[in-house]
């Protein structure tokens, strides 16, 4: 029983990471319809940022974290400016920016692989590697930190969409671009902010996961696929769907890894099977969009 509960804590933490990546997709898909696979690479860039500021220069964790997230938001904003806005202004089809962002994905990965040594690089734990004992369940500091940060981010995002005028304008854009523009909403600014926010969420996920798995230039694509699977399970309709999808995916992964009688390598296939089944059977996800 205790074994199962500790597994649940670990699964919740990885579910939070998937949820943050799914949130990054969601922030960009909602107003623009653009699926940006570069989110995995953004998480990767942020974990290298963690290596530079926290391991190399040994900045205090909150400062380093703030700088990395701010830098990532800048990256997202610049990406939108360079690879998305010119295409939208030209009236190209939706596919054009998606393909351009695939090119950006490769460029990002290769720039990092040119700039850093090929071995995995360490990123420090903010609270060391101790364990917290709560009600007889052990949880590592890092897992608790991941869960707390993710819940804060989701609560903030929820508040933003539900309670602020800015958030409402995002919703208006995702419902009907033309009508929103006619109502005086600045479409380019909404798009730019959505990319900055998406890059911030993805960067946070990369920074949180990197102490456990180290910064490596190939870490992006698996994160991008897991995050996307979480998004597909939860549906793009609602913000909480991203977190729910991430948690469901992580529990499915961890439970099959522990209990299913299949070779351990095949557990890598679990998120892929989930993704295929959900896309083929229930492409709108578990949660319906709120009317």
């Amino acid at each position: 029983m205790q074994d199962l509960l500790e597994l649940a804590v670990g699964a919740t933490a990885s579910g939070c990471i998937y949820g943050l990546i799914a949130l990054a997709y969601l922030l960009m898909i909602r107003p623009t319809g653009i699926i940006n696979f570069a989110v995995g690479e953004w998480a990767m860039v942020a974990s290298f940022g963690g290596f530079v500021f926290l391991t190399k220069y040994e900045w205090p964790y909150p400062l380093g974290m703030a700088v990395v997230v701010a830098f990532m938001m800048g990256v997202g904003w610049a990406t939108e400016r360079i690879a998305v806005r010119p295409l939208v202004e030209k009236g190209a089809s939706l596919l054009a920016p998606i393909l351009a962002l695939l090119g950006v994905l490769v460029v990002t990965r290769e720039v990092i692989s040119v700039s850093f040594p090929p071995d995995p690089l360490p990123v420090p734990f903010p609270f060391g590697i101790g364990r917290l004992e709560l009600f007889g369940i052990g949880a590592s500091y890092q897992n608790v930190f991941i869960i707390v940060v993710t819940l804060t981010v989701f609560a903030g995002t929820w508040f933003f969409f539900e309670q602020t005028l800015w958030g409402k304008s995002f919703e208006a854009v995702s419902l009907n671009r033309r009508a929103a523009a006619l109502m005086g909403i600045n479409l380019p600014r909404v798009t730019a902010v959505s990319f900055a926010g998406g890059a911030g969420a993805a960067g946070l996920a990369g920074l949180l996961v990197s102490p456990n798995i180290s910064a490596h230039y190939l870490m992006g694509v698996p994160l991008a696929i897991q995050g996307f699977t979480a998004l597909v399970i939860g549906g793009v309709g609602r913000v909480e769907g991203a977190l729910l999808g991430g948690l469901l995916l992580a529990f499915a992964e961890q439970l099959t890894a522990r209990y299913a009688p299949i070779p351990s390598g095949y557990t890598q296939g679990v998120p892929l099977l989930f993704l295929m089944i959900f896309l083929l059977v229930r492409p709108t996800g578990l949660l319906r969009a709120r009317a």
């Binding site: 998606i98 090119g103 696929i225 390598g265 892929l272 896309l279």
Partner: protein, 304 residues
């Protein structure tokens, strides 16, 4: 007159391997296979407008299935080839029938998962797939007592390229090709004109996947080894980039893109080492932003 030019071109391609050494024969074979793959992918992506990441996985499925059927199950070569095509077409149908009912980017996502799943299966397949090391040390079985190797095998690949090109060219210039272009440009209008959108998409995806599988079967005897890293996601991206850079929707574009991106690393490696991917990425972004019709579009502009 035009037919003579085609035949002359084929003869040049077919004669070339007999004047090349074994290293250049190897490079030439791989170039021909990339062009074959790019032509098929161009039909799917450029002409029919479907983005899929499974094209290279089907190349791998073809290669692995023919090797496994021949050397693990000891089937005769013709049976193995036919079964291999059936396997590729079967998997393509299973994926395409539900995926093409949906709109937009879904086929790309399902096939991305399929391509990744294929690698997982290869790595974990134990004795059947040879695990992470793959399968090596096999040779093409003799056909009527003759073991094809060296330049004559390159000739087989030239034949494959010519047959693939002829098939896709004929299809493109038939009502079917026009239906594909119509549904790429505007699915609703195509449906209103009487094109069965879902069925056309399924047929194109299955056909091009099976063509990729056949190319993979031929590839299996180029290096005489198959292993998981060859069929990874990097190459699935590369095939997409080839078609975009060359010019999506044009056969000549696919040929130019495949030739350029295949040969570029050979010229670039003294300058940038193994980081040619960086240049590919920049090329793709630049092509989409500045020249959506690709290099063939540039050519059109200057030749006018």
């Amino acid at each position: 007159m035009k037919r003579i030019a085609w035949v002359a071109g084929f003869i040049v391609l077919a004669a070339l391997p007999f004047f090349l050494g074994s290293y250049h024969n190897d490079v030439y074979r791989k170039l021909l296979l990339w062009i074959t793959l790019a032509l098929g992918y161009n039909f799917l992506f450029g002409i029919c407008g479907q983005v899929a990441f499974s094209h290279f996985a089907f190349y791998g499925i073809g290669a692995y299935s023919v090797v496994i059927l021949l050397f693990q199950f000891n089937l005769p070569l013709p049976v193995a080839i036919v079964l291999g095509v059936v396997i590729c077409a079967g998997i393509a149908l299973v994926v395409a029938i539900p995926a093409t009912r949906l709109e937009g980017f879904y086929l790309a996502l399902v096939t991305l998962a399929l391509a990744q799943l294929f690698i997982v299966v290869l790595n974990e397949g134990g004795n059947v797939t040879g695990g992470t090391g793959g399968i090596a040390n096999y040779r093409l079985p003799p056909i009527f007592g003759w073991r094809i190797a060296g330049p004559p095998y390159t000739l087989v690949i030239v034949g494959l390229l010519a047959a693939t090109f002829a098939l896709l060219w004929r299809l493109d210039h038939s009502w079917f090709g026009r239906a594909c272009r119509a549904l790429r440009d505007n699915p609703e209008a195509a449906a209103a004109m009487g094109v069965d959108v879902a069925r056309t998409k399924v047929i194109v995806f299955t056909l091009t996947s099976a063509l990729a599988g056949i190319a993979g079967m031929v590839y299996a005897f180029v290096d005489n080894t198959v292993n998981p890293p060859i069929f990874g996601l990097d190459n699935a991206f590369l095939i997409l980039f080839m078609v975009i850079v060359g010019g999506a929707g044009r056969h000549a574009g696919a040929v130019i893109g495949a030739t350029l991106l295949f040969l570029l690393p050979f010229w670039l490696s003294p300058l940038v080492g193994h980081h040619h991917q960086l240049i590919f990425g920049v090329l793709v972004v630049a092509a989409i932003l500045a020249q959506p019709k690709g290099l063939i579009g540039l050519w059109d502009r200057f030749s006018k």
